[in-house]
Amino acid sequence: MMMTTAAEGVVVKFPSFKITNTNPTLTNRRFATVRFGSRRLSSSSSISVVSSVSSSIVNEDEPKLGPVSLGHSTRPHFPILHQEVNGSKLVYLDNAATSQKPTAVLKALQNYYEAYNSNVHRGIHFLSVKATNEYELARKKVATFINASESSEIVFTRNATEAINLVAYSWGLSNLTPEDEVILTIAEHHSAIVPWQVVAQKTGAILKYVSLTDDEVPDTVKLREMLSKKTKIVVIHHVSNMLASVLPIGEIMGWAHDVGAKVLVDACQSVPHMVVDVQSLNADFLVASSHKVGLLPYILGFCHAYYELLSVMPPFLGGGEMISDVFLDHSTYAEPPSRFEAGTPAIGEAIGLGAAIDYLSGIGMQKIHDYEVELSNYLYESLLSVPNIRIYGPKPSRTVGRAALCSFNVEDIHPTDIATFLDQQHGVAIRSGHHCAQPLHRYLGVNASARASLHFYNTKEDVDDFVRALKDTVSFFSSFK
């Protein structure tokens, strides 16, 4: 029907290539800690970037990435990964948007709905008591998972966005006054920016934003300089969902507390991938979402805050469960965490969250983190072999680690075109767009980027498949120019 385009014969499926080791300096590299204290890398501390990365990394010499890797051993637990998409084996690399769920979580959800589905904290019958026990057990599991001292410090919310709104509306509206300052970074997720814009409009507080260093990491020196007695709260991510940078939350916490400011940590991209200890971090508020935080069901997030802080905060939403007594003209409120959990909660999701934490704990978060660091470096270095690619965020080195994701652009090809072709032709799922970080994209001078994000069930072969498909994609679009 249509004329054959000149490019039709150009698309080539790249043959799989054998990777051989020519650069032993890149093997067996470990990052014992993920700290970003050094803002500017000296050349000696940076990994030399090799363009022929495909020949610089060796499967055989990277035992963590080999055939008995954590990814290989856990893949069977995730039934969704074993399917074809558009005629190709699914390669799922959109884990920063949401992660897949293991059979253990799916079974916990199924068991809840088949065996004891009931409302919590209301009925005295068997099913309700069972559901209440399991729901509260999930809260205890979350508390243990992040090392909170009390399960009553865990407030279940609909998602991390609601958790941030809870802090903004409850704590922010009660504590911010005109000329008070809220410090954020330009790399925050929209859900961490917009609620504070709303609260600032209502209270007259001022929002101040920290920009990036030359290494494309939020500038913690500038952040420290911005802090003053006017600062009432610092709203900051732990791991950037675009830059893959990791902020030194412990240090920031100390600086903020020195001026009497609270700190809200958006831990959505860290809790699923590393050990997060809220007592060690000493964060006033820490929020995360269950679905992207690793294997956990949708419609659930949580907010951790010290009980003393929660107990003086007013309710965010009104309704059942959050009250003590209701009169026609006023109500008294329940103690935390119930005060902040109005209405029937997402019971099944909380129970699924408990099962997910059991699963993750069975593997060990440190083990997950160590594996992801290796896989992340492999992804970064492999991507450098793609022509005309620009990867955002810091270069990995012995002192600078990256989270397991890469946001990038390829010259003259829109990231959505890349994502579409990868999906349609190769069954590779990545994200394109602004990743809910438009201010950051504007700062970097782009409207959008592509992002590949990993989880521990991904393998070296997933990365290889993705990079091979990406090269094919670049070749395809280049042939149209």
Binding site: M1, M3, H414, T416, T420, Q424, Q425, G433
Partner: protein, 258 residues
């Protein structure tokens, strides 16, 4: 108008005719200024040569969506726009491989008419999550819709090119009658029913329809004056002592929280 449009279409003009289509029954209530012209166009498709083959049979091997056909779909109507839409759907359904559909879109992207840089302004932006799209809309002296579009994404430009080929020169009723469901079988990326912020087909189509509604409303509002009283009472207690146009402008402007 339709004949001229077809001459410039990217579809290489292979349009056999002699097909009988069901009567068009689902017009919305827009009233084009030049009704005579519209009816003439719609009732005289003799010069239009669009193939209807394979449109009503849907070989399962070529169709990936399993939704039942919508009996109210424009696809079952007899207008030139409907024929062009059917032709477009038929063309993409005949391409079982995703890469071929992508190639076809890129081909159409190359045929998208030049879009003036000066039209790449914020008021012409089509809101979407992943690409930037600008859509320019106007109503010509015949009361027909004219569209231009541009995107920073090649595939999105292909989407725009297809939609413009179908709807540029169509009457407001025809523009309004296209449903997102009609685009399901185009099947590149997210299509048709998925009312997602990343569904470019949907976003651009909705943009065309909204601007068409605004232009029709604007055209029909002028003769009878904008100065009828507002029936809207705002939450801040403002009474209906302003005009409808003033109140609508004030309450419906983006960024105003009321």
């Amino acid at each position: 108008m339709h004949c001229a449009t077809l001459k410039t279409s990217p579809f290489h003009g292979r349009f056999p005719s002699q097909l009988t289509f069901p009567n068009y029954k689902n017009w919305t209530q827009f009233k084009p200024r030049n009704k005579t012209h519209k009816q003439s166009s719609l009732n005289s498709p003799k010069h239009v040569r669009i193939s209807d083959s394979n449109l009503h049979s849907s070989p399962s091997s070529l169709v990936q969506n399993t939704h039942p056909p919508n009996p109210n779909s424009l696809l079952f109507c007899s207008s030139v726009t409907a024929k062009k839409l059917r032709f477009l759907v038929s063309e993409f359904k005949s391409l079982p491989k995703p890469i071929d559909r992508v190639k076809r879109l890129l081909h159409y992207a190359a045929l998208l008419p030049v879009f003036d840089d000066s039209a790449q302004v914020e008021s012409n932006r089509v809101r979407g999550c992943t690409t930037q799209v600008w859509l320019e809309s106007r109503m010509d002296s015949e009361g027909l819709m004219r569209f231009g579009a541009y995107s920073d994404s090649e595939i999105t430009k292909g989407f725009c090119s297809c939609l413009i080929w179908v709807l540029d020169g169509a009457s407001p009723e025809e523009v309004a009658a296209v449903a997102a469901d009609d685009l399901v079988d185009l099947n590149v990326g997210i299509s048709g029913r998925a009312h997602s912020r990343v569904n470019t087909w949907h976003n651009v189509l909705m943009g065309m329809q909204k601007r068409t509604r605004d232009l029709v409303e604007e055209r029909e509002r002028v003769p009878r004056s904008e100065n009828f009283p507002a029936m809207v009472v705002a939450v801040d207690g403002q009474s209906a002592n302003t005009t409808y146009a003033e109140t609508k402008e004030r309450l419906c402007s983006p960024g105003l929280a009321h």
